[in-house]
C-alpha cells in the first residue's frame, strides 16, 4: 500500500473510532479509512508501506526511519495527518487486541498533535521515529520498550526540547541511566514522588538548566558533561565499558 496522510475529516473519523472502541473494545479497526480518497491523500513521491511485526520500539523506529527517508524530516515532524494515518495502519501493534478486545488509550497516543507541547511526545510511533532521527546511537533507554506503550523515561526526556538539542545528551543519559544487567533503565530514576540525588526526572533537568547558563553545552563531550553534572550523578554512572547502542 502507498503511504498516505489523513486530512482533518480523516483524523476526526479515526477519533470517532477510538471513542467507539473505548465504549466497545471489540469494535473492528476501520482499515477502510486508510484508502478513502475523501479522507486521505497519497504522500508524494509515493512510498510503499507494508505491515511488519515490531518486537520492540527500536524495530518500529528503524522501519519508520527507512520508510520516511525520502520525506523532509522537518515536514514529517509537523504532519499530524501523516502520523495519525501511520498509527491506524499499525493499529494492531500500537493497540493490540487481547481476546478480541482492545484497551484504547488517550487519543494523543494515536492522533499526532505536533503543536501541542503536552501531547506531541506521547504519540507512540512518532516519538520512536523522533528518537532514532536525532539519536541514531545511544538510544537504548528509549527504544527497548514495547511499541504499544510509552515509558516514563522516554516521555520525561523527549518532552524537554532543551535537553534533546544538546548533542551529547543521549550518550550522557545512556551512560548514567542504562542498566546493562537488566537491559533496561535503572530503577528509581523517574520516581515522581521522591527526589533522589542525580535522578532523571527531577535533578537532571534542573542541573542542565543551571549548566547551560555557564557552559556552552553545544560543544561539550559526554565525558565533560558528566563531570560537570557533579558528584550526585556519579552514583548512577556505569562502569567504564562500551556504551554504544
Amino acid at each position: 500500500m502507498n503511504l498516505r496522510e489523513f486530512n482533518a475529516a480523516g483524523i476526526e473519523a479515526f477519533r470517532d473510532f477510538l471513542e467507539n472502541a473505548r465504549q466497545n473494545p471489540a469494535t473492528p479497526v476501520p482499515t477502510e479509512l486508510l484508502t478513502n480518497d475523501a479522507l486521505t491523500t497519497e504522500v508524494q513521491p509515493t512510498v510503499d508501506v507494508e505491515q511488519r511485526r515490531f518486537a520492540t520500539r527500536a524495530g518500529a523506529a528503524e522501519y519508520l526511519a527507512t520508510l520516511l527517508s525520502s520525506v523532509d524530516s522537518g515536514s514529517a515532524a509537523k504532519n499530524g495527518g501523516l502520523w495519525t494515518w501511520i498509527a491506524l495502519f499499525f493499529f494492531d501493534q500500537v493497540c493490540p487486541a487481547k481476546n478480541g478486545r482492545r484497551d484504547v488509550k488517550n487519543d494523543y497516543r494515536y492522533i499526532f498533535e505536533p503543536d501541542n507541547p503536552r501531547h506531541f511526545y506521547r504519540h507512540i510511533l512518532f516519538i520512536a521515529w523522533r528518537v532514532i532521527t536525532i539519536a541514531p546511537t545511544h538510544n537504548r533507554l528509549f527504544l527497548s520498550g514495547s511499541v504499544s506503550s510509552l515509558d516514563q523515561v522516554t516521555a520525561e526526556v523527549m518532552k524537554r526540547l532543551y535537553l534533546t538539542r544538546i548533542p551529547c545528551i543521549f550518550e550522557v543519559l545512556e551512560r548514567l541511566y542504562w542498566d546493562e544487567k537488566r537491559g533496561r533503565a535503572r530503577a528509581g530514576i523517574v520516581t515522581r514522588a521522591v527526589v533522589k540525588p542525580g535522578d532523571l526526572i527531577h535533578r537532571l533537568p534542573l542541573r542542565i538548566r543551571q549548566l547551560e547558563m555557564t557552559y556552552d553545552l553545544q560543544s561539550l563531550t559526554a565525558d565533560k558533561l558528566i563531570e560537570l553534572l557533579g558528584d550526585e550523578f556519579q552514583r548512577w554512572k556505569a562502569p567504564a565499558v562500551a556504551a554504544g547502542s
Binding site: 523532509d72 524530516s73 522537518g74 515532524a77 509537523k78 505536533p114 503543536d115 507541547p117 523522533r130 536525532i134 526540547l161 532543551y162 534533546t164 538539542r165 515522581r192 514522588a193 521522591v194 527526589v195 540525588p197 527531577h202 535533578r203 533537568p205 534542573l206 538548566r209 543551571q210 549548566l211 547558563m213 555557564t214 557552559y215 556552552d216 553545544q218 560543544s219 561539550l220 565533560k224 557533579g230 558528584d231 550526585e232
Partner: protein, 261 residues
C-alpha cells in the same frame, strides 16, 4: 546535596548587540549585525549565534569568529526552519582558559524583521492570544519552551480585550495565572537573578519584586514543597493587594436588583 552554580564572570549581553532579520526567500536565511563594543570581552573569545526552532529539536550554530574579529559566515541558511518560529542566542565562549565556558550571552533574540513585516515589538511577560481549542474552557495557560501565554476562548467575543481592561475579568483570572506561572517557573529551575531573558526568569523577577519583603523565590525541591507554596501565596496576595482586586471588582459589579438567587 544540591550544588549551586557560580555564575561569576558570565555577563548578560543586551539583545541590542545582535540585530537580526530574516528576508523573504526559500530556503530562508538571515542577516545579522553583531556589535560587542563596550562589552569588554576577551578579543580571542569565540562568538556563536545559534538559531533555535521553537517547538522542535532543531538548532543550528553559526560561527561569527572572535570578539576581536567578528566575521559573518557565508552560509546563513535556515533550511528546515519556519521563519516565524525562530529564536536566536548569541554566545561568547572562552577558548583559552576554561574552554567551553560562556563568558556572555543574549538569549531568546527575536528577529527584528521577518520578510516584509514591520519590526516586532515587545509583548511583555504574558502575551494574550485567542484560541479555538478551548472548548468549554474560558482560558488556560500555554507553556512553551520560550514563552508562556494566556489563551482565551476565541468563541467568546471580546474576551481578549476584556482580559486587558475589564476588572470583572482580570480580577478573577490573574491571581490564578500568577500562581500557576510562578509554580511552573520554579519547577523549571530558573533563578530570578540569572542573566537571562527566559520567561521563567522574568516571572521570578516579577514575583520577587512583588513579594512584600522582596524574598527570593525558593528552589524547587519536589512536589508538595511548603516553601514554594508559601512564597507563591505571599506573592499572589501582594499582587491582589497592589491592584486592589477585591475593591475594584466590587466597584464594577451591577447593583443588587433583588432578583432571584
Amino acid at each position: 546535596m544540591i550544588k549551586r552554580v557560580n555564575f561569576t564572570g558570565r555577563r548578560r549581553i543586551p539583545q541590542r548587540h545582535a540585530k537580526i532579520e530574516i528576508p523573504d526567500g526559500k530556503p530562508p536565511t538571515f542577516n545579522a549585525a553583531i556589535d560587542l563594543d563596550g562589552m569588554q570581552m576577551p578579543s580571542k573569545a569565540k562568538v556563536f549565534l545559534e538559531a533555535i526552532s521553537v517547538g522542535s529539536t532543531l538548532v543550528r550554530r553559526f560561527d561569527f569568529g572572535t570578539v576581536g574579529a567578528i566575521e559573518v559566515p557565508k552560509d546563513r541558511s535556515l533550511d528546515g526552519f519556519d521563519p516565524d518560529h525562530v529564536l536566536f542566542a548569541l554566545k561568547v565562549v572562552d577558548q583559552s582558559e576554561r574552554i567551553g565556558r560562556i563568558l556572555g550571552a543574549a538569549q531568546n533574540i527575536r528577529p527584528e524583521r521577518i520578510g516584509n513585516d514591520e519590526p516586532s515589538e515587545s509583548k511583555g511577560i504574558l502575551p494574550i492570544v485567542e484560541s479555538d481549542e478551548l472548548g468549554q474552557q474560558l482560558w488556560d495557560l500555554d507553556f512553551r519552551e520560550h514563552f508562556v501565554c494566556l489563551r482565551v476562548n476565541k468563541n467568546i467575543p471580546g474576551l481578549k480585550d476584556r482580559a486587558h481592561w475589564d476588572s470583572t475579568v482580570y480580577s478573577l483570572v490573574y491571581p490564578a495565572v500568577v500562581r500557576e506561572v510562578l509554580r511552573k517557573a520554579i519547577e523549571w529551575g530558573a533563578e530570578y537573578d540569572e542573566q537571562s531573558d527566559h520567561w521563567a526568569v522574568l516571572w521570578l523577577r516579577f514575583g520577587r519584586d512583588l513579594h512584600p519583603t522582596k524574598e527570593s523565590p525558593p528552589t524547587f525541591a519536589g512536589p508538595s514543597d511548603e516553601d514554594v507554596d508559601g512564597w507563591i501565596e505571599e506573592v499572589v496576595q501582594a499582587f491582589c493587594d497592589r491592584h486592589a482586586l477585591k475593591d475594584i471588582y466590587l466597584s464594577r459589579l451591577p447593583k443588587d436588583d433583588g432578583g432571584d438567587v
